[in-house]
Symmetry: C2
DNA sequence: TTGAAAGCGGTACCAG
DNA sequence: CTGGTACCGCTTTCAA
């Protein structure tokens, strides 16, 4: 039966055999030549390369993997994208992975639990390694990867699990930004945190609280639930509802997205930022730089974090015996318009 | 050499052969049994299933694919995530794909061009189909997929390419929201568009312009560059700079994210929304519902769109001969606080 | 320097 | 109903 007009026959796959026949050599020779094996004469190598190019040969990644090689696949477990920080992270991971010839297999995205079938994909597709950001139940992924010799690197998340990690020095960062607030003359503080206890949020709270304690101060704590705009907004309403005498000079939110919610809530309730209340966050998401927010925040070194994370992962894909490693990177303070020095009354 | 303490030997892979030996049958029988082939006696099937379960057998997706089956992989090409709409889409795609047992291979993300190596991944990993959202150069992906018999479905993007698509009825939606504005008494309009000509933006502009034309009206056009908050902000500043006599009653932005930028710019310049100017968008991203914006917009039926898109893709993965198909879904008007009826002067 | 052949883990065809 | 076997595309000994 002749093929229909609208469906040009998908061209037959060009394989090592196709090339071997064309070149009049064995398929094994083709394989070696294309992989730059120096035992093959430069002449034959060149000839085979030429034919491969001409025929548009694309090695089958699956077959290659099956016969014992790497899959080139890295599993990706991504946190709640309601927080733009995770979106930025995703973007950076995708960009850098592409540059390194790594393919990303989406294993999970969002706040929910990682499903079982998802976990199985790690084995079924012979994923070489996993990149995990946040996710409450990431420990399950780490466990199963660990027991199957699949290296795992956590981004923006410290852990005691068998896995390596790269994250911002949250404790130090929170300390630094708190000291900045103290230096600016603020003496009454509010802390905006979450109900869920992610390592990230906890460390930041600690840094803040300790820095205050060193100055003999305490903060009132507000929680809006999750690390989201709405979470911050709810907390912000609570702060705005305080009697003027108890109103904080400055608010520290454990994430930028919450800080933005806080700012909106304060303004919605007639308070000015920074004139009445200074607000700071942590992350430095793109929205923080908008003129309407101009959020003072601790900027996470996103690009280096991802680079370091991929380096660590690739190294462990090469040599699975490498010991776990924890890297902390320092953030940098980004001072913008959401804070202002407090004139002593 | 004994294995080290920290590295428990990765357990040997459980294959059909492992099970076959355990059960005292041929591997082909195992394969059939596990695939529910009714020719195998219910008894043997049960027995094999039990052994498989006990041994924790996970069929190797790669081997299965190599021997002629589907890979279960769908390539994902995602648009600029600066626009939260694409993030929401990603989230929905991931969720629904997981539910259907489809694995997503990230091919691209962002505004940039799709790289060559990325395109090759489609063939190298034997991707069963591709899901494409936006992306200027998505045509290249579509081309190469088309010529290799890999079905493509475009989401939120109409096209004349060989590919199917699902999108919101942008023309109709823009018309409807414009008529709403007219009905509310607005007579002077501004249009906020982009420099890049995505089909989506163009159709929305058309719907708006035509609806106005039907009423004998015209709009001043502003462009802030890209479909982003900043793009909207820049356009908004232009609008705010107009002399009061020329100030529009209502602004139609081709996307929510731009509309938010417009609102912020107007307010930053002392104009009130909706009292001085009404603003509408298109998409209904989560941010639009924030009390601080309360954006009136055309809500895209995201969940049904994705469902329909996956349906179409799966159908074509089963039967590649299916003809291309274009589906338009109607959006629904979400009236919120960023618009207000204009009292006739 | 190159060829032949044996897998990798499944599926499917052909027998029996 | 079930077993044997070839094959998917590539890598990798083992020979020559």
């Amino acid at each position: 039966m002749p093929s229909s007009i609208s469906m040009p026959a998908p061209p037959d796959r060009v394989t090592v055999v196709t090339i071997a026949r064309q070149a009049g050599v064995a398929s094994s020779t083709v394989s070696r030549a294309l992989n730059g094996d120096t035992r093959i004469s430069a002449a034959t190598r060149a000839r085979i390369a030429a034919i491969a190019l001409e025929l548009g040969y694309k090695p089958d990644a699956l077959a290659r993997t099956l016969s014992g090689g790497r899959s080139g696949l890295v599993g990706l477990v991504l946190g709640p994208v309601e927080n733009p920080f995770y979106v930025a992270m995703l973007q950076e991971v995708v960009a850098q992975a592409a540059r390194r010839g790594i393919r990303l297999l989406v294993l999970h995205l969002g706040a929910g639990a990682v499903e079982d079938e998802t976990m199985e994909a790690v084995l079924q597709y012979r994923v070489d390694g996993c990149l995990v950001t946040s996710a409450q139940l990431s420990s399950r992924i780490a466990d199963m990867c660990g027991s199957h010799g699949v290296p795992v690197v956590m981004l923006n998340r410290t852990t005691r699990l068998r896995a390596s990690s790269v994250s911002c020095d949250n404790l130090e960062g929170a300390t630094e930004i708190t000291q900045f607030l103290l230096h600016e003359g603020h003496r009454r503080f509010a802390l905006v945190g979450t109900d869920t206890s992610s390592s990230t949020a906890l460390e930041r709270e600690q840094g803040f609280t300790r820095a205050l304690a060193s100055a003999g101060l305490e903060a009132v704590r507000f929680s809006g639930g999750t690390s989201s705009w709405m979470g911050g907004y709810v907390a912000g309403e609570g702060i705005a509802a305080l009697p003027p005498a108890e109103r904080p000079h400055a608010v520290f939110a454990v994430s930028d997205i919450m800080a933005l919610g806080v700012i909106d809530a304060l303004r919605q309730n007639g308070l000015r930022v920074p004139q009445d209340v200074s607000v700071v966050g942590f992350d430095d998401i793109a929205e923080a730089a908008r003129p309407t927010y101009a959020l003072t925040t601790m900027s996470q070194p996103l690009v280096p974090m991802v680079r370091r994370g991929l380096d660590m992962l690739l190294a462990r894909m090469e040599d699975p015996a490498l010991p776990d490693e924890v890297t902390l990177l320092r953030g940098t303070l980004a001072v913008r318009g959401s804070t202002q020095a407090r004139v002593v009354a």
